[in-house]
Symmetry: C2
Subunit: 506 residues, 2 copies
């Protein structure tokens, strides 16, 4: 390794340490911090993040990057040296293109809009929030301009979170999804009685749920020597290094799905980080390839594994031992059916596997239209409600359960929503290849064996960290870039069977 | 406030944020961090502490300090501006006088000596540790030389932790203690049967102990809106700001004192930090006046309050409700007597109130003699054992329970031990004045009222933070500098009564 690369790695390690320290402080804030700690914690976080930004965007890093680009020009694309230089350059340019003034204005606009959004949502009155949203839309546009784009301003925002992805590409994928899923949703609605999920509401002792969930995720492969589970209001996963990747969960006595599937979801994120190579630690290569690819790991374990019949063939006996009372008279298949009930609902974060992507689609459409000026902020609630009716077949009774439900638009954050759907699609696309590579995969699940799946994901996804863009990673792992086909085939097969929908209709 | 002071405060705030972030990471390391987190955490901590040191010792701070010293020359000693400049100067000079090379050498020597000490202690073989200790003694000498001193090298080390305190002053105080306590220890030994503490070993449900201890400390005044209690191997208190001051405790089913008195001790430290003025936050004025003064707050609440009869008159009924089985047939006075049993023992951290200072005295004597070259490292075990015999009247069976017991000498840390005794003395000296100022103090304790004591400590000690040196603080609060007399009078009175020792003898 050259002296220049060594020097750059020293700085990158320091930047990593600062942002990981910030992550520890954020984890503490969501789990254990007493109420009085808010003010000081906010000071500490802003100091750490500012120092990390200043260090990373320093002239020295810029100079080293230029020199190292020459030095590594002849190396293979996927070599360690070329990759660390390429990905560091991408991050460096992104952070450099936004002026300190714009960054300050964005931070100020977000912190102004947050309480306004909270009030508007509480009162169900979009008009209160409209001026703040106007400002945020304008700032999203200015960020897109600052970052630059070829065709459409949304490309710039999308590329920031999902490198290499374009708006046109996503529009084509969402069109395919819409064509397949809107009729499936209608079919499911006509066969709604086929699935009964009342067992999930029979009351499950919270402490036992939390213990059981931790036991399940450790059996799936989440390494507790390098992780732990705590309770927080909103579940999340966070990493302070390869040896310390934590999850949180929440638990409700009255609804079973929250704790177990929340824990599996977060452990999917966490196993991704636990599987990243030690060789890329403390560099910009360490981390998820994109939010969408990260979500693919959580959704894969949550839905394609945790909501599969083979999974429940294995786990249901121990679940029934843990909860003999509420599970009286229920069998593995009945429970599998219950946790897979699908029905159109108003709130994205509560949506099931089939309807979820429609929630994302409408947000993606509205974001691009707002950004491109074809939709005015004042017309947003109407556009929202129309699309919910059109894609999900239900009426939105108020803005609180409609356009005001998500926290995202209270900050300057266009381009994030698509990652949720990309996650679902990537998960199904990877799983299709896993099934081809490991023929007895699901027989293994029935025996409680998940190590083959995890090993496949480690080899083809986890260890690479951010070395490849999402589409590069998918092409290497599955032979083609992002496609909706595997996910569409998966939900048609699974939900066709669950709801007894005739093949002709699907 | 001048622009220069504003600028300096901005830098000091950043330095504070970095060291508080490090404190959060250390807290997490002792409470929740999974085993795999060790390596990354050590990287993060060293980055944070290095950046904090670099920022604080920057030329800009030096320049601002010189300018501000001129600017504040005419202000009263205890004014905010003069104090922040004076205390920042003290810290700045201390950090500057040690060269980066010496700091690196000290860090390296400590991390080399730690495993050697662990092995030597495990095998009870001082000879293994002797070479590492030789090196540490030499480095302590070099630190003393670098810091500078008038009379004796130990002055430099002492002044670093207990500003303004001298070796001669401490020697005089310890001589007074030795004269009073050695005979008292012998008297207690002759009346050992007077106190029976077998009740403490009857088995107390750990979870109930932890809950009960938290309830007690919150009644004493530890504010849980700005704090919390967790479990760790070694109890400690830590602060991330005035709104977030935490304690940890440990618990043993087989020995009652550990959890409750540990929690009270740590809450004494924590109430000190919770009582520091908001006006001094994020400056070097925020923090304890010295480790000794900090210890005075923990020992005051632990011993002078928590081991007093009025305390137990109030708390014993609720303790008996919490533990009806082990406390069957015991009354408040019997329990008060049990928790105050005094007997000479080998291990400092397990020593009772009377014998504790003798453990500190012998370490102080040995440290000064090693530093001044009148004692050779090879002769240390013999010197240790002789003094334990002479001060406590017991034989040391092996080095593990003798000279190798403390972690302190495995790093370069001479000058720290005296703080433990200073804490005991300061606590008693303050309490004597509190009793004079609040005549019905102990009647209040019996009624469960501790707010008058806390208010007195807030006003006279806590709110000042590091504004005054220990002796300045004591003179302002009690009218005189550190003296052993109040503590000697207190233990003579209390233990004389407990053990039925005739006044003539004491």
């Amino acid at each position: 390794m050259s002296d220049k690369l060594k020097r750059m790695k020293t700085i990158l390690a320091e930047v990593t340490d600062l942002s990981r320290a910030a992550a520890v402080l954020e984890w503490d804030q969501e789990t254990y911090m007493p109420p009085g700690g808010v003010a000081a914690r906010s000071d500490q976080l802003s100091t750490l993040l500012r120092l990390s930004h200043v260090r990373f965007t320093s002239d020295e890093v810029g100079r080293l990057l230029s020199e190292l680009e020459e030095e590594t020009a002849g190396l293979p694309y996927d070599s360690y040296e070329a990759s660390v230089v390429r990905v560091t350059r991408r991050d460096y340019d992104q952070e450099h293109k936004l002026s300190p003034e714009l960054i300050t204005e964005v931070a100020r606009a977000s912190s102004t809009a947050r309480p306004v959004w909270l009030k508007a949502r509480r009162e169900g009155d979009f008009k209160l929030f409209a001026p703040a949203l106007e400002k945020n839309v304008e700032l999203n546009r200015r960020i897109a301009d600052a970052l630059g784009y070829k065709d459409r301003p949304y490309d710039a925002l999308l590329d920031r979170s999902e490198p290499g992805m374009t708006t046109d590409e996503l529009e084509a994928i969402f069109a395919e999804l819409k064509k397949a899923i809107v009729p499936l949703i209608a079919d499911i609605a006509r066969h709604a009685d086929a699935v009964d999920d009342r067992v999930l509401y029979r009351g499950f002792e919270p402490a036992v749920q939390v213990r059981y969930a931790l036991d399940v995720v450790s059996k799936l492969g989440y390494d507790l020597e390098r992780g732990r589970q705590d309770i927080s209001a909103h579940p999340f996963s966070t990493s302070f290094g390869p040896g310390d990747v934590r999850i949180t969960t929440r638990v409700s006595r009255d609804f079973f799905n929250e704790c177990l599937f929340g824990s599996i979801h977060e452990s999917g994120h966490a196993m991704y980080n636990q599987g990243m190579g030690d060789d890329i630690d403390r560099t910009p290569l360490w981390g998820g390839a994109s939010p969408g690819v990260h979500e693919s790991q959580s959704r894969l374990w949550e839905n394609l594994v945790g909501r599969s019949l083979p999974f429940w063939k294995h786990f249901f006996p121990s679940l029934r031992s843990a909860f003999p009372e509420p599970l009286r008279g229920v069998d593995d298949e009945g429970f599998f059916r219950a946790v897979n009930r699908s029905y159109p609902s108003l709130i994205r974060v509560e949506a099931d596997e089939v309807t979820y992507n429609m929630h994302v689609l409408l947000r993606f459409e509205l974001e691009t239209e707002l950004l491109e000026g074809t939709l005015k902020v004042s017309d947003l609630p109407e556009a929202w409600n129309e699309r919910v009716k059109s894609y999900l077949g239900i009426n939105v009774p108020n803005d609180r359960e409609g356009v005001l439900q998500d926290i995202h638009w209270s900050s300057v954050s266009f381009g994030i929503f698509p990652g949720y759907t990309i996650g679902n699609l990537v998960g199904a696309q990877l799983m299709e290849k896993v099934r081809a590579d490991i023929p007895d995969l699901e027989a293994g699940f029935e025996r409680g064996e998940f190590v083959a799946l995890l090993a496949w994901l480690r080899k083809n996804v986890h260890r690479h960290g951010r070395k490849f863009t999402p589409n590069e990673l998918l092409e290497r792992a599955t032979g083609r870039p992002l496609t909706a086909a595997p996910w569409i085939a998966y939900v048609r097969r699974k939900y066709g069977a669950l709801y007894g929908i005739k093949p002709a209709r699907i």
